[in-house]
Amino acid sequence: MSTSRRRRLALNTRYPTPPGVADLHSAGAEATGGWETDKADERWVSTHCAFCGVQCGMHLRVAAGEVVGVEPRMDTHNKGKLCPKGVAAYQQISHPERLTHPLVRDGGVLRRASWDEALDRVVDGIRKVQAAGGADAMATYGGASMVTEKTYLLGKFARVALGTRFTDYNGRMCMVSAGAANYRAFGIDRTANPVTDVAQADVLMVLGANVPETFPIYIRWFWEAMDRGATMICVDPRETALARVAQIHLPIRPGTDGALLNAMLHVVIREGLVDESFVADHTTGFEAVAESVQAWTPERAAEVCGVPAADIVRAAEIYGRADKAMVSHARGMEHQVMGSRNAMAAINLCLATGNIGRPGAGYGTITGQGNGQGGREHGQKCDQLPGMRHFTDPGAIEHVAAVWGIDPADMPGPGEPIFKQLERMEAGEIRGLINICSNPMVSWPDQARVRRILEGLDLYVVIDIFLSESALLADVVLPGSAWAESEGVVANSDALVCKINKALDPPGEAKPDMWILNEIAQRLGKGEHFPHQTPRQVFDELRRASAGGRADYAGITYERIEAEGPIAWPCPTEDHPGTPRMFEDLRFYTDDGKAHFNVIEVEPPAEEPDDEYPIRLTTGRNVAQYLSGNQTRRLGYLSDQTPAPWVEIHPDTAAAHGIGDRAPVRVTSRWGTTVLPALVVKTVRPDTVFIPYHWGQPVAANQLTKAAFDPISWIPAFKTAAVRIEASDEPAWPVTPPPVWEAPTR
């Protein structure tokens, strides 16, 4: 075929042309090896996707030292299916914008440096910071897109090499609300049922989860359930592609899930739909919860949620009468000050009706990041040690200290969520930060404050594969390894431990992330604790460290995964089959072995719309982008679909403000302002606007969000900002609000 080797980078193609004409070259960057490949020279590397918590299997096509394509893999989970992110994922590996050498800040600008110079800067910086402010003046911030080996090593690095208690990770914006709720109710932070159970349920309730865009592969089980005649209840302020086909769509006001769930439990109790024997035998705390939801009549919830009381009653009755019902939720319900409590309210409903521990009956919180599950299990999360062990357990510290070869007395105490650490950075207590695999200059709320804080640090180091918005502010940028450049495991949203395989070495002078951490540890004089040469050595240590913990990996080996396919933890011994579905024996991981009801006090969102900022802003995701977009915004096809953000406004609201479809809109909150093109659609509540968050300044949605947090989980309240909107004369960021494909004009 005659395609040339022209390299078209994403930013050149802002305006899609209508299909049918001349759009054949505008679909973004080709693989660096060119489109033309000689299949005879190819080798295929079997692995899983770089992106979300589904972890689709795929083959990477490797030729002449570059990853040149993707071939669908009939993995048990995704059966060859891939979303557009999965199709394009391979393009990031041999991408021309990869960081290929260290950078150091000199006279205000980043310049090329040797590894020795860059690492010396890092180590000198750490020494100065800790000499002045003590060990706890340094902090690390990790990511859940890294393989578990790296996340384990980072937690150990922080506590042993830096000796700081301040380590945390970007699951703070992802799974911590669900995790806190699961821990309080079930004693363990893991999804209860595998997503495959969805297909077997009679009733499905999905809250704040845009499954078609954020977990496209999971949609097949929802469709399968509906083919079987299941009833779908979808709670979402927007009409997503799932809400579109739901028998009951409850488009509630963002931030009111707790009220809705309390009212549903109220109806379940009133109508006598409680599974009395299950509640009596396997739970505690029901009476207090029953009393607390007395006041939550459907009428009161209707007032709070902005949906008809009759719909709430109908949804509750359908859910309550089902033999097998599944509740699934994701960030929509969790990114609120009520985040953890909302998840507990959902669990209350499951427990009251006995929907747990059976095929097709249960509860699933859908993990967002590629290793969102595994990334929170083995020590980079501030309050945990490997194996999902808590500092509150003295045995945990002794066990892990023994594996690490340190005196238990030298183990730093529990740290704090990153957003609490930010307050310490503002106060000058934490003076240095090592950030690996995360991009806070897109993903943290109140971006103006975030920039101030990061710029004010004495030492700010970023390890990444691209020069992210956050790397641009760093004192030292170290080029790390992409997902296909190291071996390791990830745990997907079903806690299935999958094997990631290595396709290539990192490009240029870039180094494996593990090498970088080990090298810093060596230079800090802690090399004896970081002898690992290979991911396998780290994994074997991790298995020992996790043994006996809640997230027990002791029985999982690389060989077993290769032979048997992904294995769900807990898996304590090598002959243990793994645990795809939790609580089948109706024994829970709490001290008394029972599931715990939790009383849910409903609290209003952190910001309520008022005269000055009368519109509710809720932020979220688009199918073509992943997290902060540092990877996907560079991948041609994906960037072409959604080159920049937009604001979804209901036609009535748009008309009231004189805003036309695609016209520029100024969106202003107490915290910032930006101009975005309008996408005028009936698929959003009239009192609410929606902005996808994957971009940095000047169009970052998080310029508009308040630094308000769930007091339990410290997740930011991304879903409940308050803004005003006005038609603008200023040109919007030059984009076509996607995804919109024009009809061909002929």
């Binding site: 075929m1 005659s2 395609t3 299909p19 049918g20 004409v21 001349a22 759009d23 054949l24 070259h25 679909a27 080709e30 489109w35 033309e36 490949t37 299949k39 394509g69 993707v70 669908p72 060859g80 299916k81 891939l82 979303c83 557009p84 999965g86 199709v87 394009a88 078609p212 865009e213 496209p216 592969i217 949609i219 097949r220 469709w223 083919d227 005649g229 009409e239 997503t240 592609a241 799932l242 579109r244 086909v245 199918v623 073509a624 096809y637 994906l638 679909q641 036609p651 479809d661 996408l679 005028v680 659609v681 009936k682 698929t683 995804p739 919109v740 494909w741 009809a743 061909p744 002929r746």
Partner: protein, 190 residues
């Protein structure tokens, strides 16, 4: 001249994710060019979307091939309607305008037309075409009519379409509500 397995298009399952469009570009027989179309029907009102693939028309056979003045479009014995042979294509765009589905695309830079060849490099060796292989929601499914009927209750599959007085039988199928056996498109416009 019928295909053993074909693509079944089920708009009710489409989630508009664009995986088909992305994957079409990865097919080695037209790498970098997507032959897929994906349209929101009315984004102002709904998230409903429709993927359009080449239907590999059987009777009348391949209107695109029939209107090609230079016989650039080959219809192979297995019923697959191939992409215009670039050594023959004269860039007249007859196929672009002659197709009832709006499938063939014209590359202005190259002055050549392209269309879906059912990923012939894959389907001729027993693999599925890229679009239906990756489709997360089975809105595009590669298989047989019996498989689809068995798996999707209250649905029918149709391969007969009426455009005004012209009836057309296709090689690929649409999945529709069970009350339909033929899909009729009233003619509009002058």
């Amino acid at each position: 001249m019928t295909m053993e397995r074909s693509i079944f298009v089920d708009p009710s399952r489409c989630i508009a994710c664009g995986a088909c469009v992305a994957a079409c570009r990865e097919c080695d027989s037209h790498r970098g060019k997507s032959m897929m179309n994906l349209d929101f029907l009315d984004r102002g009102s709904s998230t409903e979307a429709l993927p359009t693939v080449c239907m590999h028309c059987v009777d009348p056979v391949a209107p695109c091939a029939q209107v090609c003045p230079v016989d650039a479009i080959l219809v192979s014995d297995d019923g697959v309607v191939h992409s215009p042979d670039p050594s023959r294509c004269i860039g007249c765009q007859n196929c672009v305008h002659g197709c009832p589905w709006g499938v063939p695309k014209f590359d202005v830079e190259e002055q050549l037309a392209y269309k879906c060849n059912l990923c012939y490099d894959r389907t001729s060796v027993g693999l599925g075409p890229m679009c239906a292989t990756v489709c997360p929601s089975d809105a595009l499914y590669y298989g047989t009519a019996d498989e689809v009927r068995a798996a999707r209750p209250r649905r029918e599959v149709v391969d007969v379409f009426r455009f005004g007085a012209q009836e057309l039988q296709s090689g690929n199928w649409m999945v529709v509500p069970e009350e339909f056996s033929v899909l009729t498109f009233p003619l509009v416009g002058p």
